[in-house]
């Protein structure tokens, strides 16, 4: 029997290996989709269900500040919510990996350790794109339309994915800190009040004073308002600085979150060997 040894990394093949490792870790996540199609389907259907509930159960009683159709107001908000809720998916998956010990096996193999996190984020971003497409389809089905240019709409989608990317790294960071399923559950509960105290479902102006201020400055409000503007949907505007500079904040907030979450997550991941 011949002995099978792991090939050594030759000089200059660093990037190639890193790409290969990252792709293999991404493939692993895609294989999970194929293995658990129902879980994927439920994850993708949940926001559609929320959209339908809010559009038809509450929508009749909702009034958009400055006038306009509530469905037109709601769809961009739901897109934002879908991106934000991605945080818990990322966090849960990472916590599970850490708990089963499979991450230890990866770390004991001659692969690029960062590929573990890169694979996770590429797969989650792919899922988010699919989720966005489905939600846009659902929005069109219930009568939502975008009125601006195609380029503006694309810019809106870009803002949504930027938000998702920042939430993703928050999820990775929290997943690395949490380590335990109980804490994942706490985050799963907390995302509700945090996302609802924003301009996702209603205008902050309609809320009690303190909550209204919180909602105005909520990062999700910035993205929701900016996306509404780019799609040409109603509900844009408001007297506050935050509402007037929604585009700026929709870029600045996620970048600020990333500037904290990314290095913290990276340090935490390296710190697994401490």
């Amino acid at each position: 029997m011949t002995t099978l040894t792991a090939p050594a990394r030759s000089i200059g093949s660093d990037v190639g290996w890193w790409l290969a490792d990252s792709w293999n870790m991404t493939r692993r996540e895609l294989a999970h989709w194929a293995r658990r199609p129902w879980q994927l389907a439920i994850g993708l259907t949940f926001p559609v269900m929320m959209l339908v509930m809010f559009a038809f159960f509450f929508g009749g009683g909702m009034r958009v500040a400055g006038g306009g159709d509530y469905k037109e107001f709601l769809v961009p908000g739901m897109l934002v919510l879908t991106m934000a809720f991605g945080l818990e998916g990322t966090m849960t998956a990472l916590t599970q990996d850490l708990n089963t010990g499979v991450v230890d096996r990866f770390r004991s193999m001659p692969m690029a350790p960062s590929a573990v996190l890169v694979g996770r984020s590429v797969a989650d971003m792919l899922e988010s794109v699919v989720s966005l497409l489905i939600m846009v389809g659902a929005g069109l089905a219930i009568g939502w339309r975008w009125h601006g240019s195609f380029a503006a709409a694309l810019a809106g989608v870009g803002l949504l994915l930027l938000l998702r990317f920042s939430m993703l790294w928050c999820g990775i960071w929290l997943g690395l800190i949490a380590g335990r399923p109980e804490l994942v559950m706490a985050v799963q509960i907390l995302v509700w009040p945090v996302s609802f105290s924003s301009a996702v479902f209603a205008s902050p102006e309609s809320m009690p004073s303190v909550l209204g201020v919180i909602a105005e400055w909520n990062p999700l409000s910035a993205t929701a308002t900016a996306v509404r503007d780019l799609f040409g949907n109603p509900g844009v505007g408001g007297a506050s600085w935050a509402a007037e500079h929604a585009h700026l904040l929709a870029v600045a907030w996620p970048l600020a979150v990333l500037a904290i979450a990314f290095p913290m997550a990276a340090a935490r991941f390296r710190g697994l060997s401490r």
Partner: protein, 327 residues
């Protein structure tokens, strides 16, 4: 690549978690091609030691080499040469057995085709061909352990770390793992095995290190360690509990060492220097004292006794067994 005489060298490893010292100046060497048992109770530092050697943990002080390579300075080179079986199955539960092995093969950079071929080969070798396409979460405990073991053989490791490989397995699963370990050593792989089971170390290991509180308290072959607690022992079971103390006094006179007394089984036990002389004297002395023995036997001490004695942990045993040296 092979040919390092020492597969593992550890010198003065230190590691603390908050106040608790997990490794407290641990040193150990393991010659290539041998099975080395690391024996110790829960919390002795076994897992911390293995994780340090397998590049998963960085120690505060000390130096470690695996296959002749410094663990801290060249972790990736070490990773190319080791296999690791942790305490808990390190597998992707949602993927099939085959998908797991195929993924690991790719991450070892074997290339697509070789990774797939290796996955099939390992499934066959570990008797998992039939279940290779089922998700791991549907596997039994023993099958999972076998797949986990197969995953430590994606490459043929120069050094294999087994951290409590049979914890939680039924006797059948345990003997499966033991057989796998024995077959490996033939291939020249060095195995570092941690265990809480004395029997397991006795069965598998060429040499054994006893560790407690993060340091080695004794090492040697199983026989050498047993000799440390005073060579042969004589066990006597008396017919009635009332004669226990009298019999213990007689045995103490013959042995000269400490006598263990177990009231429940009416058994007394003590180390002896010369087994035949001691046996002769004891039979006569018991007879003279009018003590009826139900059973009488000369035996080697078990590793259990070695361990209890060296750690100073009586573990519910009666006092009087604590004396260090006997004979």
């Amino acid at each position: 690549m092979a040919g390092h005489e020492l597969a593992i060298v550890a010198e003065g490893l230190e590691k603390s978690y908050r106040e608790k010292k997990a490794l407290d100046g641990l040193s150990m060497t393991v010659p290539s091609g041998t099975v080395h048992g690391v024996l110790g109770p829960n919390g002795a530092g076994k897992t911390t030691f293995v994780r340090t050697l397998a590049t998963l943990l960085r120690v505060k002080a000390g130096r470690a080499e695996v296959a002749g390579i410094d663990v801290r300075r060249h972790p990736e080179e070490v990773r190319r040469r080791i296999g690791l079986l942790g305490q808990h199955a390190a597998l992707d539960e949602d993927l099939s057995g085959r998908q797991n092995l195929d993924l690991f093969g790719r991450l070892y950079h074997l290339g697509t085709r070789r990774a797939a071929a290796r996955a099939d080969e390992l499934l066959e070798r570990f008797g998992l061909t039939d279940t290779g396409r089922r998700p791991v979460k549907a596997y039994s405990g023993g099958m999972r352990r076998r797949l986990d073991l197969a995953a430590s053989f994606i490459i043929d490791p120069q050094v294999l770390f087994l951290d409590e490989p049979t914890a939680g397995l039924d006797p059948r699963g345990r003997s499966e793992v033991w057989n796998a370990v024995r077959s490996l050593v033939g291939g020249g792989t060095t195995v570092l095995l941690t265990t809480q089971y004395l029997e397991e170390a006795d069965q598998l290991a060429d040499r054994i290190s006893l560790i407690d509180h993060g340091r080695v308290i004794a090492d040697g072959t199983a026989d050498q360690l047993k000799a440390k607690v005073g060579g042969d022992r004589i066990d006597v079971v008396v017919r009635t509990a009332g004669q226990l103390q009298a019999a213990a006094a007689v045995l103490a006179g013959v042995s000269g060492g400490a006598v263990d007394v177990d009231e429940d089984t009416r058994r007394i036990s003590a180390p002896v220097a010369d087994r035949m002389t001691a046996l002769n004297h004891l039979v006569r002395a018991l007879h003279d004292a009018g003590i009826e023995a139900e059973d009488l036997a000369v035996r080697r001490p078990t590793l259990d006794e070695v361990f209890m004695r060296l750690t100073g942990d009586g573990g519910g045993r009666p006092s009087g067994v604590r004396e260090e040296e006997s004979v």
